[in-house]
Assembly symmetry: C2
Homo-oligomer: 353 residues x 2
């Protein structure tokens, strides 16, 4: 563990998970400044936005931070499938009196490209993490040549071995408990997705690079357990969602605080790829894994106007309410305090030290 | 943890999971004798067999042991559904040249009844565990009046709370990683089943009785992690399946040793209830959760002759190859040695003590 922390230059074995859509530089700064590794999700940002957010991080901390990218292959547009999705959603458009012509176009979530590699060569972030595998060998080589430490998520032992063989400097073992998008990339079958308890030690045995545990870790007990399994650090997302530095929406915050936060499910409705979120009306009525939603990331487009209207009325019925299976660690406290609690360096320990 | 171990009178925080069909008294004796809690699965035994097996345990150890029962409600026979199941299996009967008239009748797995309570009043086992909830209040009161310590499995926080409220003395938090039958009883929806990492600490927070962690725990790292989450002990099944004291079949042992042991899935094909096993031909061709298999425990009947014939030919194509998501702890060593390794009291520690 210590070797890994020294290598990336952090004091606490806590990586704040990059969470596109619910956080920006403020959360990353807070976590990095207190000794963990803050992360900036970049998949929904333009180059100019990435540049501005990284500048904001560097203006507020001299500590290491992580920038995160998706490396999916953008799908071919499929007019028939997109029409079917819109047809499935049309009753909701009518109910909410939303005009379907307001559906946005464009990718929504952009993959890692040569232009992004250009940008990384310019801004040289200390840590770069990927979701959905790794970019091409050529692009990855360019990222590594900047000196960045490279992370990616594995959801199975096979994926961990694949990532190590292709050059990841450490592997995030993402157990099925984790919130948000599954990092799965060697399979599309969600029945292959294993629990954190089963995945971490098997991944530790299968690869030589450090393994970071993710999924179901909500408090210091979970951190201690993950390190006990052999992880070099943990990556935690859900617990940060109620922090003031997160930009989590009002409906999402309400869902996380409610008793229903225990009812999460893997769903492909919101983006086209399986991701874990709190069960809401859309999931209940259409079915979490219904193939009517088009390929990633296109499914999100036709939902956007519905989501926007419903949220303005105070409903999260059409919003992705991302959460892991253990939201018990969510606390409305500054991210630095949460990070210290997770690491077990609370005020008590400090006082007695 | 210590209070729990003292209460049931064991030295090591290891409960050997009761595994109907793959073990009898020999495995229970070996584990109890070395300081863990051995378990005898009784769901597939007659009263006379239970009496004989408990006598065998008592002849071989003076230590505490656990007897395990199912408490499902037997289904109404459904001739239409059973005929559909047979029709789905008929091509396999033809391929293997098996006569469908050899299909056995009878329940296969019996629920806990008044007659079993009579038996427990006679044999007075120190620990009694249940799967699929608890028996009726009246029957449970009779079991508790014998002085037995009562355990049952919870697969969600709600089930843990339910079990405590109805009188369980401790709750086994069975994470989704676990092999064999899910203990789920408040829901039939497998998407509600959460990982061990997420379940254990939330269950610990939700109930006052001790929580025992199960699922994905294969070695001392896993035991340490589970205790770190707040568990009072662990329950481990899969790791014992290759021990000489287990009666695991040849095809099952081969599957556990193979690379395919990583591919497990929840399936209802073998019994009618979701249970985790290694993917084999039947699962691949019919579909793990296909509703064509009748209600628990009836699905097993029409499979029995196929399974028997295939096993005699060396194939596990129709056998339930129960395994959790982490078979890496399986070792062909005596159960006592495995138990000590799991608990971290190996020969080294003993030598240096």
């Amino acid at each position: 563990m210590t070797a890994f922390l020294d290598r990336i230059g952090i004091d606490l074995p806590i990586i704040q998970a990059p969470m596109a859509g619910v956080q920006g530089s403020a959360l990353a700064v807070a976590v990095s400044n207190c000794g963990g590794l803050g992360s900036l999700p970049c998949a929904m940002l333009t180059g100019a936005q990435i540049r501005a957010e990284v500048a904001a991080i560097r203006a507020a901390t001299s500590k290491p931070f992580n920038v995160n990218f998706f490396c999916h292959t953008p799908p071919e547009p499929d007019a028939v499938r997109e029409a079917a999705w819109l047809a499935a959603l049309l009753p909701y458009y009518e109910e909410l009196e939303v005009d379907p012509s307001t559906i946005p176009t464009g990718p929504g979530r952009a993959p890692f490209t040569s232009e992004v590699a250009d940008l990384l060569e310019e801004i040289r972030p200390p840590v770069v993490s990927f979701h959905f595998g790794l970019p091409s060998d050529e692009l990855l080589a360019r990222v590594k040549a900047t000196g960045a430490f490279v992370l990616s998520s594995a959801t199975t032992v096979e994926e961990a071995v694949w990532l190590e063989a292709r050059g990841a400097d450490a592997v995030i073992a993402q157990g099925v408990e984790a919130g948000g998008h599954r990092g799965m990339f060697l399979t599309e079958d969600i029945s292959t997705q294993v629990g954190t308890m089963a995945l971490v030690s098997q991944a530790v045995d299968a690869v030589k690079v450090p393994v970071i545990a993710a999924g179901g870790i909500a408090d210091h007990r979970g951190v201690r357990a993950a390190l006990g399994l052999g992880a070099a650090a943990v990556q935690i997302g859900t617990a940060y969602l109620l922090c003031p530095e997160a930009t989590t929406s009002r409906v999402h915050r309400a869902a996380l605080r409610g008793a229903g936060a225990r009812d999460t499910v893997l769903t492909r409705l919101f983006s086209g790829r399986p991701a874990r979120g709190i069960v809401n009306r859309l999931i209940r009525e259409i079915g979490a894994m219904n193939e009517v939603a088009p390929e990633f990331p296109l499914a999100s487009l036709a939902l956007a106007p519905l989501r926007s209207k419903a949220e303005s009325l105070g409903f999260g019925d059409f919003s992705p309410l991302w959460s892991g299976e253990n939201a018990s660690g969510c606390a409305e406290i500054p991210a630095a305090e949460l990070t210290r609690r997770l690491a077990g360096v609370g005020s008590k320990q400090i006082a007695s030290a």
